[in-house]
Amino acid sequence: MKFALFTGCVAKGATRELMLSTMKSAEGLGIEFIEMKSAACCGAGVVSEKNPLLADALNARSIAIAEEQDLDLVTICSTCQGILKKTESHVDSDPAYKEKVNNVLEEGGHHYAGGKIKIQHFANVLGTEEGLKLLRDKVKRPLTGLKTAAFYGCYVLRPSGLSLYEDPDNPTGMEEIFEILGATPVYYDSRTKCCGFPIIMMNKNASHDMAGNALIDAIDSGADCVVTGCPLCHLSLDAYQPEIDRMNKKGCSIPILHLPQLVALALGYSPQELGMDKHIISTTRLDEILA
Amino acid sequence: MIKHDIVIVGSGLAGMRAALEVCEGLDVAILSKVYPTRSHSGAAQGGIAASLGNSEPDSWEEHLYDTVKGGDFLNDQDAVEEYVKAAPRVIYELEHFGCVFSRTPDGKIAQRSFGGHSKPRACFSADRTGHAILHALHEQLLKRSKSIKIYSEWYMHSLVLDGDRCNGIVVSDIRTGAVEVMQARAVIFATGGYGRVFNITSNAFASTADGVMAAFRAGIPLEDAEFVQYHPSGLYRQGILFSEAARGEGGYLLNGEGERFMEKYAPSRMELAPRDIVARAEQSEMDAGRGVDGKDIIHLDLRHLGEARIMERLPQIRQLGIDFIGVDCVKDPLPIQPTAHYSMGGIPTDKFGQVITDAEGTHVKGFFAAGECSCVSVHGANRLGTNSLLEAVVFGERAGKSAFEYAKTVDHAPVNESHEKTKVLEQFEGIFQQNGDESYNDIRNQMKKVMTENCSVFREEKQLKTCIETIEKLQEKFKNGKITDKGKLFNTEIYEILELENMLAMAEIIAKGALDRKESRGGHYRIDYPKRDDKNFLKHSLAYKTDDGIEIKHKPVVITKHQPAERTY
């Protein structure tokens, strides 16, 4: 398995532990990731607020870069995944628009073909038959006793037509991975909801309330930790957790993991190797469960 | 007692347009048993007619002739003339209100061909024209929210008529069950049609004859009730409308043998002949065993239009096919059959929206009507497509104007509140107390079945008599029903029962009118009297409530420019 890795900005910035654990789990599984060093930010749906064509052009360029390497593209961020799929859909559905976009890319030496490569989230790759088999074969330290709650991130689920999950209203892809890693998946209603990150600068209270509701739901459903495929969700649920009013009133907290961290833990890597000591909410409670 | 200057019952196109006409200077209320944007006007798809001439040169004279010929010469031509003359101004006004219209390349309101019209004069908004106009008027209503009070989810039970003067209505709040009398100087009905008496209908569940029956019970006759339009393209078994616009854009009608059978029935207009002719053609093919797979199905074939045109002009129809029957009209033909669609008949009015009560045109003071619930008559024996949206807006405005002028000249008249309230309260109580063993649902289904089988596209004396007998038996059974929900809070069950009572009465009037009219004209076709009989039946019917049942009198047709001629397409 060899992929072009679209890292996204946050894995290189505020959540470098995501990048670290992604490379570790790739190493442990024998997956080869070629980092797309010249791919620009996906725009996160924010650049398109200013200029939709610009956002699509930048993303079509990124997809073209992977096409040129003849490699499927893998994202490690739900937001990047959703945004790239949106661009793919916009450009593929309108030949005149596609031509417009390619006219812009040409001068830089790129051409978006469309339909040549797959754009998948790391969780989708692991969820394929081949991916699941790899996991089964390579698990060294089954995460027995660890109750894990998935938090998918809006952009990999909606709009459902662009989601790679079979039933985006009731996805099970991440939970299937948890089971193979030996953990016990916890199902709860809020796992498909929004973490509130997009409005953290605009409406802090609403943002925190959304995150808080999701976390309390996970805790009440018996989870030891929340595992997410999106570093923006991670920031909202972890870095901002001490400020979440609803959690403080309840006097509770819960550690948040990136999906690759969970995978790498099961492959035998230590929490320190995976940057888990960088988290705002301490993950030491999990060491006890895994011991 | 609630008091307003003008009360409008029904908040579709006609009702809302009337409200906009009367709200400057008078205290106006508009009342509907559903929230205004849920009104059935929104379901109209194809277009609204006007001789704008944006696509081809056109004139009101041609629109007049097409409408009168389409109505099989039963229309009152003086009214039709004023109505078609008003059309262009009315369309421009809607556009000025902000209504979203599909446009020509040079930015004018686009117009398309439609059944029975000799020129493309249907102004449209994709295939959601009724929806577009409904929302444009609703927006204007919201703009004037300080001048127009909306009573949403209130039911109108009866008219308060004192001699020849209307003084208000008796209503109840569906949410609380509270009964109230609304005293008014003038009342306008814009309550829509009654397709729900039939099994296969395009109409919403709300189209249950409440307004027309309130007028009828108050002693006002119903005009031309036997004229019901069966729209040719209703979804098979469900009746959901597939707009005539599909044929306007070039769609074909095919029988089970893949033939464009309209060649035999209307060789010059083909699929764009008036609806009654197309519906009869379809029914004839199906009755002769030439339906698709031998069933009562005709194919509406749009494949040759191509996906781009369908997505631009008929996107909603495509989605309806996919959602309701799993057929994508880009790839496969749609299965259709005739569906009860429009009520040409209704409360008789003059051409100003003033309700009249006899052939001489005696006014019912303070009572006005507009839209499908009225009969002016601009449609005669058969309505052309796109003429109903026009009727609603033109006569909503006219009835509003008439009501406004009248209301300025009178004061409120006294109303015996407790007497009026008691009648309705007793009706409620009666239903609550009934402990019979008949199922209202079964009664409703049997009514719909007998009407569809015996009083629809093709009618005949024996069948009509069976129909009337059955309806009378069902009315007896109705007195032996039993209600489940005896609460007051949002009791939708009891309102469905009141609606059923209205529908049974309406069904009887339609069937009796059909029995009485021994000729075929427009939407009313008698197998035993297949020809049009101008000598004996070039007249409107007026069905009255008497102690001995329904009595049918007649009213002359106003003929000005066009003498009745042979109607072929």
């Binding site: 900005c9 910035g13 505020a14 010249s38 620009a40 930010c41 924010v46 650049v47 607020e49 200013k50 200029n51 064509l53 052009a57 930048l58 360029r61 812009v104 689920l157 709009p159 459902s160 929004c194 997009p198 600068m201 605009m202 409406n203 802090k204 609403a206 943002s207 309330d209 959304m210 509701n213 870095a239 960088k278 988290h279 705002i280 | 559903v34 929230y35 944007t37 849920r38 059935h40 421009y92 556009e95 902000g98 979203v100 446009r103 390349p105 040079d106 930015g107 004018k108 959601r128 929806h131 927006e139 919403a204 989605q319 649902n441 209600i483 489940t484 929900d485 609460g487 949002f490 009791n491």
Partner: protein
């Protein structure tokens, strides 16, 4: 055989809602509304819900099915069943009156707030105002909205903040913001940029997912954002955030997460900056803060070129 688990509620009888099961044999082509009617008309006449056209145009019959809002008449019941069960609840973010019927007044109040009627540029001409097919296209999608409330029901922000205008009101606002005949664009986007408006949308996509028509409210909200930025309405965190984001990508191809929060709240917004301190310090002490020396992507010149070409 499908079991319908329906949330009943009748404050006349008891204060709390409860679930009641109804079993029905459901043929292939029955819609969910057909089933609800069958239950009401043959099993329990007191089951209360709204419905009218049954052809997906009046917007009366939106309900929550298995946790998500949908139009009951538009969906085949057999396709909705999960393990032969369908759970029916009233729409979310609205107070139930009885069973599946909810109070729509707050919904209509929000629609009112966006001045949902044309405010024309000039006096009306004698005939129609000219509007090109391209201009029609801009408002075509939002004009398909049937006000069913499904988007409002499932909006993640409305769940926690009832001050938010919500997707339906904002989509309706776009219908006028981008109507070439309307003369109040600047005023509209100014109002829509205030707290509770477009910048409070969290992009969760629920509204687009649940909308039974092509209205796609979230796409409409983004269109308003673009117009607001074009019109220079930028004195708010949401607009500043978008501009800072775009600027960062232009200069380095990536987000500079140290600068963006500061530029979003505004350099002189001392309170806003102060509010950022806790999370900033927290991350600093954990070594989580983004590197101060911000590296560009490879070939960043190509990105700058694209910006020059597409974004003045």
């Amino acid at each position: 055989m499908i079991t319908f688990k329906i949330k009943r509620y009748n404050p006349e009888k008891q204060a709390e809602p409860y679930f009641e099961d109804f079993k029905l044999d459901v043929q292939e082509d029955l819609t969910l509304l057909d089933c609800m009617n069958k239950i009401k008309w043959t099993l329990d006449g007191s089951l209360t819900y709204r419905m009218s056209c049954r052809s997906a145009i009046c917007g009366s019959c939106a309900v929550k099915v298995n946790g998500h809002a949908t139009l009951a008449c538009q969906r085949q019941a057999a396709h909705l069943a999960k393990d032969d069960t369908i759970v029916l609840e009233p729409l979310g973010n609205m107070k139930p009156i009885k069973d599946l019927a909810v109070d729509f007044k707050p919904f209509w109040d929000k629609i009112d707030k966006v001045k949902p009627y044309l405010q024309p540029k000039q006096k009306a001409p004698e005939k129609e105002r000219v509007q090109s097919p391209e201009q029609f296209k801009l408002i075509d999608d939002s004009s398909t909205c049937i006000m069913c409330g499904a988007c409002h029901s499932d909006c993640n922000v409305l769940e926690v903040d009832e001050n938010f205008l919500g997707p339906a009101a904002l989509a309706k606002a776009q219908r006028f913001v981008q109507d070439s005949r309307d003369g109040k664009t600047l005023e509209r986007v100014k109002n829509l940029s205030k707290p509770g408006g477009i910048w409070d949308c969290t992009h969760c996509g629920e509204c687009v997912e649940r909308c039974p028509k092509p209205a796609r409210p979230f796409d409409r909200i983004k269109e308003i954002m673009t117009v607001a930025l074009e019109q220079g309405v930028t004195n708010n965190n949401g607009a500043r955030h978008a501009l800072s984001f775009a600027k960062s990508v232009k200069s380095s191809g990536r987000l500079n997460e140290n600068i963006i929060p500061v530029e979003s709240v505004g350099f002189f917004n001392f309170k806003g900056l102060f509010d950022l301190l806790p999370v900033g310090l927290r991350m600093f002490f954990k070594g989580k803060n983004p590197p101060i020396l911000h590296k560009s992507i490879d070939e960043v010149e190509d990105v700058k070129r694209i910006y020059m070409e597409l974004d003045e």
